[in-house]
């Protein structure tokens, strides 16, 4: 359904009976067609008089009703609407319309489409279609509708806890199997939480995992359901995550299902992480609650903080088959005998100190720079390598040019990386996993947030410090090196086709083009750029270039071989060459990827060709171009326009003709000068010539007189 054709028309009269109310625990969603009093989530279109409202049809099959929202199935970054399947009437479906400010997981959608994975909500189809309420294209995902509604209405609510005896076979086993199957396809769900678990049947017996594609991985997860590391990270920068992360979230969700509520409700995120670090995740989550004895072992396994020791599906199978396993106890933190006093607290181990240092960034700088931290690590923990690393970080960063405050920030960030390697890179308020950097950048850009931390991250090579701080070699490290080296080069380049825009497209394979011109068209592929520009050509400000920084960066990232040279020429300092470069970018894309006719865009681009027309010195040629361009515009072919305007022979002819004309003008100017300033010479010449002429005249007269006299005498 990618780029599915969609049409908007008045809604037909209700074609199906109103859905039955769902079961207890879930509010009676799915209002009947006539009931449109519920506020629309976005600027809902006005119902057409005499009809039931508006709708769109995708793939000539799915009718999505714009005015029939289902708030009970909304996701944090997507709104739910009713869907009717024209081929299978009565099939329970619903659509999630993604919010534009959050990138969707397109690659996961492509993998999940049509797959029926047990215990995972079945994705029927997905695509991009015009969504009238917001007057732009949106990603729309169509799912099987869970008739039993959500397992838990919200993370802050309470619900009737699931009986202990149902957990193992009805909850843990099917969902763990579903996660295994997802894992086999290389997908981490990253949205496992009690309010994203659904009952597929009205009897509320079959539990499934909900949507996981309408936001970047882990973005919507509350800190309580995330591992210590992931929870410490900015939500959009958590990266794609792993199966182990899913198991942790699943374990935390099961714990809540067993308790019947969120045990950490109302506790600030910072405190949640601090408690998890202090007592371990299991201990922090359970607290004083009474857990079913049968689940303790399983929960301990799934909530182990060390991802290498965390339970996987095999452990769960063994546990379900009755083999009692004791989770390997996490290796305890090294404890110093002498405490380290920091921010009015005493610390004996490194990890809690590291977290406290992050929370008190400015104070951290003091204890690092005065050497007390290094001494404590060296003497209290006898970790000489770590202490040496800190000393080196202080020396090498302090020696760098730049302002001291920035250098101090880098030192603190580097020391935190060394103290707790598993944690995300922390740069004051900016917390990011290297793997999640691209997604976080995309989200920040879509939300129009400040991008300074991202450029700092690249320019200050924080990623390199993080890689160097890792004691465990990761295969991705070399890849990071290559990727970030390229990103740094893009940032250094101020031209179109580079910059932070290029970075975001290079890092996010399916990121749609964010150009203000075509953002609403949700263009994910190069072949969609020209049709999108064509469609906005009537409303866009045609004084602007259609190839702006975003479009150039998008094309460069997605179609470098085809457009690289053209985009380079677009950055030429000469306006005519730059304009021709811009035209060449569009022309080559049209020639190679179509469409053949682009009348609106041709008219837009044709109107920007003044620098090219004016670059011809020959006025007659310019006038000829002015007459000819409208004819080519009417053909709708940018390639033809480009070929006509970028004719090297004509340009050569023009240049040579101009040189001749200039020379001719100069020669005439010189002659005029000579004539005007040669008065004295001319006077001398006139005297000389006049005297010669006088002599000649006198001689002629003399001969004539003699002749006449002689003739007269002789006659």
């Amino acid at each position: 359904m990618a780029e599915a054709a969609a049409d908007l028309r008045p809604s037909p009269e209700p074609v199906r009976p109103a859905p039955k109310p769902v079961l207890a625990g879930v509010p009676a969603a799915d209002p009947p067609a006539a009931d449109t009093t519920e506020p629309a989530p976005a600027a809902a279109p006005q119902p057409t008089p005499g009809s039931g409202g508006s709708f769109i049809v995708v793939r000539d099959r799915f009718t999505i009703f714009c005015d029939r929202p289902i708030p009970s199935l909304d996701m944090p970054n997507a709104l739910a609407f009713e869907v009717a399947d024209r081929k299978q009437e009565g099939r329970p479906l619903y659509a999630l319309v993604c919010k534009p400010e959050m990138p969707a997981r397109i690659s996961v959608m492509r993998a999940l489409k049509g797959l029926e994975i047990p215990a995972v909500l079945h994705m029927v189809d997905w695509g991009v279609a015009e969504w009238p309420p917001v007057d732009r294209k949106c990603v729309i995902v169509i799912y099987h509708r869970p008739l039993g509604g959500r397992v838990m209405e919200s993370m802050s609510g309470q619900f009737k806890r699931i009986p202990d005896h149902l957990f193992a076979r009805s909850v843990i086993k099917p969902i763990a199997d579903g996660l295994v199957e997802l894992g086999q396809k290389g997908i981490a769900h990253r949205a496992i939480r009690p309010d994203n678990l659904y009952y597929m049947d009205e009897q509320r017996t079959k539990m499934v995992l909900g949507d996981c594609v309408t936001a970047v991985p882990g973005n919507d997860q509350p800190v309580v359901l995330e591992t210590i590391e992931s929870g410490s990270c900015t939500p959009s920068a958590r990266g794609s995550g792993t199966y182990a992360d899913d198991m942790y979230a699943f374990g935390a969700s099961v714990l809540m299902l067993a308790i019947g509520r969120n045990p950490m409700q109302g506790v600030p995120d910072i405190e949640i992480i601090r408690r998890k670090i202090q007592t371990g995740s299991y201990g922090a989550l359970v607290g004083d609650e009474r857990m079913p004895v049968s689940l303790i072992e399983c929960l301990r396994g799934m909530l182990t903080d060390d991802p290498d020791q965390r339970w996987a599906a095999t452990n769960i199978d063994l546990w379900l088959n009755g083999k009692r396993l004791t989770p390997i106890q996490a290796k305890g933190e090294s404890q110093a005998q002498r405490p380290f006093r920091f921010a009015e607290q005493e610390f004996h181990s490194i990890r809690p100190l590291s977290y406290a240092m992050y929370q008190h960034w400015d104070k951290a700088s003091q204890v690092i720079n005065d050497g007390s931290l290094e001494v404590w690590i060296r003497r209290g923990h006898e970790l000489n390598d770590l202490a040496d690393g800190i000393a080196t970080a202080i020396k090498s960063t302090g020696a760098m040019a730049g302002n001291k405050a920035d250098a101090d920030d880098v030192i603190v960030a580097r020391v935190l990386m060394m103290l707790d390697q598993r944690m995300p890179i922390r740069w004051r308020d900016f917390r990011v996993f290297v793997e999640g950097f691209g997604q976080a950048l995309a989200v920040a850009m879509l939300r129009k947030q400040k991008l300074q931390p991202f450029t700092d991250f690249i320019n200050r090579e924080l990623w390199r410090h993080w890689v160097l701080a890792q004691t465990k070699h990761l295969p991705d490290n070399q890849q990071y090196e290559n990727v970030f080296k390229d990103l740094k080069n893009y940032l250094r380049d101020p031209n179109s086709g580079a910059g932070i825009e290029r970075c975001v497209y290079e890092l996010n394979e399916w990121q749609p083009c964010m150009s203000p011109l075509i953002e609403a068209q949700y263009v994910m592929e190069v072949k969609g750029v020209l049709p999108a520009l064509e469609s906005v050509s009537k409303t866009a400000n045609t004084k602007l270039w259609p190839v702006d920084r975003h479009v150039a960066a998008f094309l460069r990232a997605r179609y470098a071989k085809g457009t690289g040279t053209q985009i380079d020429s677009m950055n030429d300092s000469r306006p005519d060459r730059a304009t021709i470069g811009m035209l060449s970018v569009l022309a080559i894309v049209q020639r190679r990827l179509g469409p053949e006719l682009l009348h609106g865009l041709a008219m837009w681009v044709g109107g920007l060709m003044w620098p090219v027309i004016n670059s011809y010195q020959n006025r007659n040629k310019s006038k000829e171009l002015e007459k000819e361009i409208p004819k080519l515009i009417r053909k709708g072919s940018l390639a033809e326009l480009f070929i006509y305007l970028d004719n090297p022979e004509e340009r050569q002819k023009d240049a040579e003709g101009f040189a001749w004309a200039k020379a001719e003008y100069a020669a005439a100017e010189k002659q005029i000068y000579d004539l005007e300033h040669g008065q004295m010479d001319r006077q001398d010449s006139a005297i000389k010539t006049g005297r010669q002429a006088g002599t000649v005249v006198a001689t002629v007269i003399m001969f004539l007189t003699i002749l006449v006299t002689l003739v007269a005498k002789l006659l």
């Binding site: 010195q617 001719e664 100017e669 001319r682 006049g690 005297r691 006088g694 007269i701 003399m702």
Partner: protein, 172 residues
Amino acid sequence: MNKSRLFLYAIIAIPIGLLMIPTMIVLMVAMIPTGVAFLMERGKGYYGGLTVGAMNLAGTSPYLADLWFKGHNIPAAVGIITNVFAWMMFYGAALFGWAIYSTTPSIVSAFMTMTAGNRITGMRAQQRELVQKWGPDVESVYEPDKGANENNESSQTSTAAKMAKAAGNGKH
């Protein structure tokens, strides 16, 4: 002129002179203005003398013709040189010759000035056409010293300079 050639001229001229004494008498009197003109214009070329001489001779020719056709003898020659009208004729013609010599440079100068004006007008029109066709960028101001330097510097390499030369020569 060497002595042998002078001698040769003398050999030819003296007998002729002796044979044409009446003519020589008339000419010696009539051609005095010519001699004066040659003397006055010494160092400025011979045009003054030649012009005055030619007109002087033209004025003398009717009396010489009378002399030759009515009796080539000394009394006739003396008759001519004592005739006041003959003197008026000789000297009037010489005066006219002097007038021609004096006025033709001014006339030629005026004519040349008029021709240069027309040429300038023509070239300005040509320049206007060039500007109309190629735009104001084609314009340039001729600065004699700079232009000469530029020409010298670029004459060996610059195509434009070659073309300028060609255009100056009217080849384009």
